[in-house]
Symmetry: D2
Subunit: 401 residues, 4 copies
């Protein structure tokens, strides 16, 4: 009877208050683009579909992430640094105070080193003969080409030397590892006078903790493993003592969220560029609080995800904020402050950052790296206070030989 | 022996001239985004992946499509007009002289009418209950919401009245149909004083031929069919004489390409937004020349495609320019002047147009609609001159009763 | 307070009846695959994500589409026939009685001809040099290769001769056009003794109406246009009288749905392979009934869509059944009988058909082509009975010169 | 002059030997599906596009991976175990002897535990209200629903108890960690008499090393971190000594490839289901050999990747085998023995495994876990023999305090 109802549209509409609500959104009537259009206008003009989502993400940056009491985590997956997104996009966002902690693949930090080392990667084409490339010693990431020897082998060589410095000789998380590496890279970057090209150096300067959840996966981890193999072969295990302990990172990242929400009564937001392990690691902080440590909590307040992975394949890379809410990763009462834009990252991320630079003031650096001990102490304190299973576990632990 | 060879990298490189060629592209070292960054800089700064492709597309617009002798076709698929891309993006590109002919789904032109009729579509959400929407008379296109009665039913009603005007009472292609419709819409648009909101009106004013390859598919075609049904039922076939003949469109679109290349010694380029039937229709002009009419020809000179369809599924929507070259649709010697960017259209298309507005001068309108008869005459002339099968076909045709 | 609540899980659960409902679905505990596994078992074993959707689609085929009173439409977009899905998949589904009407791109029917003409397409590679291909006269569809002259040029030549037969010399829809073409192709297929390789021939034999919503788009339409150009050039318009009128197709396809639901009290289901214009054309039948002809109606009862297009881009190709419900295309009360599986069509479609063949009995052919006049008469009758605008339109029509 | 050349097709073809080569592939002429069709036939029948790639992958399994001297690695990313692919697909492939080592996200192994613990996950819908789910204590992975308390909290609790057993109290890689966990899970699985439902148990029984490159990322790593926090808080660090050292995994996985190729003169193949960190970790073994350890080597021999990530976004998840060849990950001379199929994993992976079970004999288990010490010794030996940098590094190492 669809039709008949509509034939009396006039009277119907009066009895249909829900209708007005559906139609209460801004009218779709964008301004015409003109030669003088700027980035803010072009984004504000995007009314619908993924363009609309990008706009919503930009508005979240402007209205929510910009607040002093919001602690912002950035996760990056996919080969962003080889494409130059470090110098162009991520470092400006860091310098603007909008990255309080960073979760990244190891590969992104490995390729970040080439920039600090002044090694050149080049625009090329993806339609080349890879067997020929290999025979000529050229390596490819989609349409970026670079020399195998001069870039990869040489980066590895320098990295190994850095990791043989004394400050690296201990067990640590990637958080501390990247701090030491960032310090070394920062010196090289300043020597080379290339400007700010390395994310690791920028993070070091601004006290930003950087985490990699898969420390053995990437050429950095491969080179740590290579040195460990040498130490083992030569009986130098008492000299080379660098070991990455992932548990330190799990707790130290969790401590950031707990501190922001419970100790400083602030809010937390995430900017998830791509999916993968960096996204999972960043989002697991809330379940670590609630599910493992059993400290009451409510998940991230704000969530921006730019990705090409769709939810229907079941993977976390494409899982939307609403699904995360069912896990307690995102506060379920704030799903409308969560946005997923299915737009290519190399286009959308620079726009998001440019919009932010144009529409917000720089935020004061939280320098959470410097506060690592304090944050961890607060985490332990909360854990001991809330966890009801501690007695059992402690008694089991004590029985261990 | 990969490794050993590389161990003598110094000597190797001398004997490896191909290596330099691979590494000759611009170094990946983008500038830092800053608050003052403009659209041209942000795009020029995109070094790689789909961002790099978008940049390449923008540069093609600036360096090739901008030339006076380049005839540019624009194809649009996907629900772009409901999202406001008419007023924001397509009309400014038309007004800048960069659209000489247009291939579009009927749906895009149907929804274009709402804008001219001053009917409002609204920003909404895709996460709504559609059964509830339907019961309240609200219709949805992803995250756009509008009233079923006030928008759809009312647009249809007005459209039917327009199509009952005398100028529509004949057999025609969509090219002519949209011209008459555009004239009517242009008047309404000017009356409403809404500014330039309708693509059809803008095309009419500037003499741009518009084609829909699937004339019965969309509410426009549905309403033509509805009127035909009425005429049939009431024996008014001698009054209502509007019939769309798709063959006219096939030849008239082909004549545009032939004229540009063979009679004016110019070049042709296409801007393919999405895939589907509009893309196929635009690209089939070259095979129509070479394969069906048997007139020698070499395919489109320039090709920009922004799409989310990938080539591996076999469909034309995701087929890259190189595949099109094997059909003669694209000139095989110019594959490097063809770019596919897999970026969401609602983000990439406004950027492409803004970049063009900022970096090119307005082009003179070619007003190809006005020259329809001339172009068709030239097509017939070339066909008669080159086609070796004409004798056979003519004799078969003459034998028909 | 998430956590505290859960700490009293026992009591909570009693007061939480909704929980049981959420967890009432079949347990995820599939059987182990074994060497003897058959297609039905492998599909029934798919518990989740897109595999789960494919299973749901197969079950809809078995439980709903199999009923005698369900009229089934199949739409195909994307280059399926070049990949051999005609002989392997579509013809078996036709022969099983599960296709009552067909909506297809013209390209699919054009490439269907090669099979009947015994012209060979070959498995190849997509990683080839297309300029080299073109120079050697080889044409490519992704990884399928074939000869330009022997396949394309020769198919066109034969097609033109067929279309010069007397039965083609009139105005018609593609429905009638494909009937005549199918008759001719059926004869050729039987002569060649290749078995059943052509969809058009199979449709002809079984009285299945076939529609192409974009008749000028594809090589078939290009050749009709070529002949029309010749007739025009030579003044033979009184001999060559073939004209495709898309309005006939709009009404004749709509008449199928109206007849099934209103006159035979049956149900309708669609199988949408890919998106594009064929999907839109098939789904617009319900709005044509409700919105244009103003006959009360409730949309399709069942909907299966296998596609790689996602909803977030706004296009119809990826629009889900729930969005279609807000348009009245799908009955909003039956959204749970609609399934979208985002799985590659060349894998999912053969599985869907094999599952159907294994789990259902052949259905009796409805031979809707043969009943074309009757269906159209019923449509006119319903239209005249329900449409409240007829008086106005008739009077406008009568005033036409 | 395309056309003129083709007009003399006969003579042309003689002078065009490359043409025949292009057209030498099997003719596209599949058999008709019938009720009795089996999985082997349906796959062999897939001629083109992603269906063709799936067929090629199946043929690689049958012809190459089946050889006794081929060492096969399987990587899995995306939430496969919650969807039941452990019991249905992965365990049968393991039992058939086609998985010699496994690279997986931690999440997949965490959710594997639910099956062994006899906790139920349920088929549900993705179109549910997640805030309501959360309030009712139900957790969602796309369309799978399960109880937060009974499944997640309870799994965590049991896992913590297992990890407090003595055999876990040491530094180890995930390889050894999963071995101990697998042993415990195997006992539980056998107790519960549920059949073979856990991948970890199946891997344990068959001596298959399992690696997770991101050990802190997933609930398993979260619980290790939780226990470490407790040990730290209570001063029990001398009791709870479990620490995951990722370097051990890097070298132990690399040792598998080196042993297979250099010491046993065999071949290696990978089956990459999805992308992400597990894919990267599996493929980095060859660069670890060549680039870090500087042992000559040539990359994987065979490569099957089933994924929905496309190459153009630059990420490793979608990077094709040819790109991997430019890194030395895949042997560049064997790119034709590498296949990427862009098909949903929940459909394609069961088909790949069923095809393998139907067309190959079971392979003898290599039990590489049991040979861990031997493989590592061989790796050290090769490293010392080939690496030219050892002297420098050793001397730097010795200088450490």
């Amino acid at each position: 009877m669809q039709h008949d109802k509509h034939s009396h549209a006039g009277s119907d509409k009066k009895s249909c208050p829900g209708r007005e609500k559906y139609l209460a959104g801004k009218r779709v009537m964008p301004k015409a683009l003109a030669a003088g259009v700027d980035i803010t206008s072009i984004v504000d003009n995007m009314d619908a579909y993924n363009g609309g989502r990008l706009r919503a993400a930009c508005h979240l940056m402007k209205e929510k992430y910009s607040a002093a009491d919001v602690t912002v985590g950035l996760s990056i997956a996919g080969a962003l640094t080889p494409a130059g997104l470090g110098p162009s996009t991520i470092i400006p966002l860091i310098n603007h105070g909008f990255v309080d902690w960073l979760s990244t693949t190891g590969a992104n930090m490995y390729h970040d080193l080439h920039f600090a080392f002044d090694m050149s990667l080049h625009r090329g084409s993806h339609a080349v003969n890879d067997a020929d490339l290999r025979s000529k010693g050229v390596t490819r990431i989609y349409d970026i080409l670079f020399d195998f020897e001069d870039v990869l082998m040489e980066t590895d060589k320098r990295l190994r030397k850095i990791m043989l410095r004394p400050e690296f000789q201990k067990e640590m998380g990637t958080r501390e590892f990247y701090h030491h590496l960032g310090k070394a890279i920062n010196e090289i970057e300043q020597e080379k006078k290339l400007g700010e090209v390395s994310i690791l150096a920028a993070a070091y300067r601004n006290g930003i903790p950087v985490f990699t959840s898969s420390p053995g996966d990437s050429t950095i981890g491969m080179n740590i493993a290579g040195l460990e193999l040498l130490a083992e072969a030569k009986g130098l295990g008492n000299k080379f003592k660098l070991k990455i302990n992932p548990s330190l990172d799990v707790n130290d990242s969790t401590a950031i969220i707990l501190n922001a929400k419970d100790f400083e009564n602030g809010k937390t937001g995430v900017i998830l560029i791509g999916g993968g392990s960096p996204k999972n690691f960043m989002l697991q902080t809330a379940p670590q609080i609630q599910e493992v440590l059993m400290i009451p909590g409510a998940g991230q307040d704000y969530d921006i995800n730019i990705t090409d992975a769709r939810p229907d394949t079941g993977g976390l890379s494409g899982a939307p904020p609403s699904e995360a809410a069912s896990w307690g990763k995102i506060d379920p009462s704030k799903i409308d402050q969560a946005v997923t834009a299915y737009v290519d990252v190399t286009v959308a991320f620079p726009l998001l950052v440019a919009y932010t630079l144009q529409n917000t003031s720089p935020k004061k650096f939280k320098r959470l790296y410097d506060r690592g001990d304090e944050l961890r102490r607060k985490l332990v304190e909360s854990y001991l206070k809330h966890n009801r299973e501690i007695g059992d576990l402690e008694s089991l632990m004590k029985k261990l030989p």
